[in-house]
Assembly symmetry: C2
């Protein structure tokens, strides 16, 4: 196993030097926090990651949960971790003091979650999902519900899930078939099947609280018929005891990666004795669930970045130690071999991973910071629009590019990368779920092109452009960055032009044709968003390099500048090819028919 899976120092650089997250303490909500409290919290998170999580990264993959007699049996290393999560308040740390939270900026919570994800994502997912489910109750539940569930969930004693997917319903959620039938007892009778429910059953928690969407019996078709329910695995009877709520786990999936977390098939109400309690308004189920979904999409993006980080540091460590061959200008076989990291092509692959990982991490912090401003009501409407606009990018870019980044990590190790003795092949398997769950890449593409760019008459897009232009303006103080500034200025212009062209054509073509290349558009937008963040990182680093620095610090900031140079030359340039296709009038993917696939 590699020693390092994450750079603690880089997180400090990001939250202090680049984003100055501590300045949030100008708002009363965050007034107790500062760089010192952040450091304490992140040091603790690092210790948990290193001591309780990473040692089980491989073991949880090799010994995944198994299903027996209706129950999922999980790895025992998760027990002390969940206890720590509960006792340390990690599940609700961003919440107000009065509900047991620590009023921590989401930005800092997300960085702790990033550490957890890099150390052992399959372990991290248990508290992460509980946090998401609890948040739905926190936001939309009655006081009674909050009293009944939140404390147990925050303490890690009860697990939470989101139960959306069904055997025949994946991306098309409005077609779900799980039924909720009203009673006059204040609850609904639930009946249906859900699949792919992460941590949907386990022997670790006393109870599992499903936040489930179901269709009201005889209710309207589609979205307006869907409501959100709390469906506990065990319900609380009048004596305050837990009793069976007719939720059965019929098995778990055997899967490519992400093996430490059981993905469950669940049956609700097989014996007509499953009760659910409506959360929020009837018919608002999807809208409410999407509150949680947005949060989960941020978590998925950050989880993907964390896996890239784990694979990158394993590849870096290997490249620093393993000797192989000589530089191309050294032909003498009597000279000693050099470490892999001396080879330009190896450095190219490492720079790729570093560029994707750190650029995405900056975007994640940027987005979380907007969210923190929403929390305290600072330009809340604008900041919320920025969050909404950037979510499909943060969800997708690290998930999709993570396939290639972890693949590059394998390639750095060569044959050893393909073997189970090194962790990179597991990161490669683990990350492959990220472009699928919580909204596929196709769904994210439709979101940005079909909704986000034209949302509120293009206001969100406009705000985003202002943000990028502000970064460019700040960078202009440093002539060293002229090349990148000019590339980003052209890219922004191309983004404006291309988006206007696409939206301009929209009225003349079908919606199908308009959205056919939405995934390419999302890729195009993502490259620019990551370039924006890299200009920010480079600017801070150029500035830092003008001061008195140790050699180590100099190396650190130079590393940022070189990686930014890499990103602009090798990655951002991809927008030009994407733009050629996005401008093409050949609607081949629309016109292709199913018959033409026959052969």
């Amino acid at each position: 196993m590699a020693e390092k899976f994450v750079s603690r120092r880089n997180i400090d650089f990001m939250i202090n030097e680049v984003f100055d997250v501590a300045s949030l303490n100008r708002f009363p909500y965050f007034e107790d926090h500062n760089e010192e409290t952040f450091k304490m919290i992140l040091d603790t998170a690092m210790k948990i990651s290193t001591d309780m999580m990473y040692p089980y990264f491989k073991d949880m993959d090799v010994n995944p949960p198994h299903w027996e007699d209706g129950k999922v049996h999980c790895h025992k290393a998760i027990v002390p971790f969940l206890k720590e999560m509960g006792e340390g308040g990690w599940i609700q740390c961003e919440k107000p003091y009065d509900v047991g939270g620590q009023q921590l900026p989401l930005t800092v919570k997300e960085m702790a979650y990033f550490l957890f994800g890099a150390a052992n994502y399959s372990m991290h997912v248990y508290p992460m999902l509980t946090a998401g489910a609890a948040n739905l109750i926190y936001q939309f539940g009655t006081q009674e519900m909050k009293d009944m569930y939140l404390e147990k969930m925050y303490s890690g004693i009860w697990q939470g899930t989101m139960a959306l997917t069904e055997p025949d319903v994946g991306s098309s959620l409005a077609d779900l078939t799980t039924i909720a039938e009203p009673t006059d007892q204040g609850y609904y009778m639930i009946r249906g099947q859900k699949i792919f429910i992460s941590a949907g059953n386990s022997d670790l928690a006393d109870n599992v609280i499903h936040l489930l969407i179901a269709k009201l019996k005889d209710g309207p078709l589609g979205v307006p018929g869907i409501s959100l329910f709390i469906v506990p695995e065990k319900r609380i009877n009048e004596n305050g005891e837990l009793e069976d709520n007719d939720v059965q786990c019929g098995g778990i999936e055997h899967k490519l990666g992400y093996k430490g977390s059981p993905i469950c098939q669940l049956t609700f109400g097989d014996e007509k004795n499953c009760r659910g309690w409506l959360v929020g308004e009837l018919g608002k189920g999807l809208a409410q669930m999407f509150k949680m979904m947005n949060e989960e999409r941020i978590n998925i993006g950050i989880g993907a970045i964390s896996k890239i980080s784990g694979a990158y540091y394993a590849a870096l460590e290997y490249a620093q130690q393993r000797k192989q061959g000589r530089k191309p200008d050294q032909k003498d076989p009597a000279t000693p071999m050099v470490e892999l990291i001396e080879h330009a092509d190896i450095k190219r692959m490492l720079l790729f991973q570093k560029a994707v990982m750190e650029g995405s991490l900056a975007l994640a912090i940027q987005l979380s910071l907007y969210q923190d401003l929403v929390t305290v009501g600072e330009n809340a409407e604008e900041n919320e629009m920025l969050v909404d606009f950037l979510i499909p990018i943060l969800k997708t870019y690290p998930s999709e590019m993570g396939i290639l980044a972890t693949s590059a990590a394998i390639q750095v190790l060569g044959g050893y990368g393909f073997c189970g003795d090194f962790p990179v092949e597991q990161y490669y398997r683990d990350i492959r779920i990220d472009p699928i769950h919580e909204g596929t890449t196709g769904i994210q593409g439709q979101d940005i092109l079909g909704r986000k760019v034209s949302m509120k008459k293009g206001k969100a897009f406009e705000l985003y452009i202002n943000e990028v232009e502000r970064t460019i303006a700040e960078a202009k103080a440093y002539p060293e960055l002229e090349k990148q500034i000019s590339a980003l200025e052209s890219a922004v212009q191309l983004m404006k032009d291309l988006t206007a062209e696409l939206l301009g054509k929209k009225a003349q073509i079908t919606n199908e044709a308009f959205l056919a290349d939405a995934v390419l558009y999302l890729d195009f937008m993502s490259q620019i968003a990551i370039a924006w963040q890299w200009l920010k990182l480079m600017t801070v680093s150029v500035k830092a390099l003008k001061g008195q620095l140790t050699d180590q610090d100099k190396g650190f900031y130079q590393g940022k500048i070189y990686t930014g140079r890499y990103f602009y030359d090798y990655e951002l340039t991809k927008i030009h090819s994407l733009a050629i296709r996005l401008r093409s009038e050949d609607r081949v993917t629309v016109e292709m028919t199913r018959e033409y696939f026959e052969d």
Copy 2:
């Protein structure tokens, strides 16, 4: 499991309609072959694939070989398959009649191997490697060696391997440490370790014949010191009996995919009793091994294409059957859901897989056909240059793009794609070895930019351009192809200009800087080579569509035209971004230092 893993019809289309392989019977060597014999052979290969191989595709993954008491125990389904391979003459079918071959065009053999690889690559690899090892003996061995080994290897009773990699020597073969010490008995004493040796030990074969490279004791450093040896697991004593040759298997690797084939750690001469017999000339080991390596690189490329094929047909079948959502212009939730294949983004992902797979397959046939012309001495020098020039492309493009193609297959299936119940996740794992073994992508990049484009004063490159231009000239009879013709003409011009620029700069920069982006150059060249093949496929299809056709045939040819349109718009366009980077003077991957990676 999906029903289909390959299109038999498409192979007939390729070898008959596109490449007219049967016209090879104008040469005496191939005079007994025609479309009918090809059909019989390929039908038999299809039956073997369907009946003996594909049924064990998953089972061999779930129940991989295990190592116990120095022996590797393999899946028993391989036994009847190896018998069939031996009895059917599949290992040496391209060889002359007088050594038991069938004088079959390599082109047709490769298509049979393509079928085997798609059905179960891990099973296919046993005879494939034996064929490669036997070929080395066939080409460079003495008559005595041929008599001793070939019949047993051709009959599948003895397994063959190529033993190159060592614990500290991967890509840098010239640094190997396995030692061969001459004796006065006509053999050498071999001592050393090899790792990652596919099928290097098993309970399936009576003997394993290693074609091993080793350094002559006290010989010169580097390449001139390396020779090729036959090192059998069991040597034949004076009584014609097999006796132990001091070759031990110390274990096998647990790996990401390709699990059905054991990858062995081997120790030679631990008890100072391992004999090896020199093959060919002393000091020519690497050059001779590269004869076999070229063949294996073709096999790796074709193997990668076959895995893309298996994943593609599984994804296609799923998309044809699974209903999900509605088209973007249909908002009414009361209308029925449509099959996935009706969605443009799903079609885009399927077209991507089909375009990569069929374009690569055409290139594989093209290259094999050049090789068949070499065999009969038809413009042998030119055709051999074309083979050499195209090998790095055929090895790499399907291997690297196959990661994305099989990933797209997973994405088509969504959550199910991530699960072991469907075959796509296995193809995704299996294909990941292909950019690594038999020369990594980095090695292939250096090969094309560092050697092939300037080989024989650029003659190979020139011949290649002539071939592409001939295809363009033929396509010009069809105005329907105007867009693609013009795109390929521009691409060829860009290829000439860019290559001249890069070679022009070579004298002013270090070799390291010259080769730093060799992998990007290879990608650039590959896109154009595949576009060349697609223009060929489109031309044949446009022509066919002018005749009287059944609806099914019309669909088949239309499918080619749409897939070609897809390739030109979505894939070939990538060369423009690549060219931007390839022209950049920012040598960031060279200048980046190991210190700057520290953080």
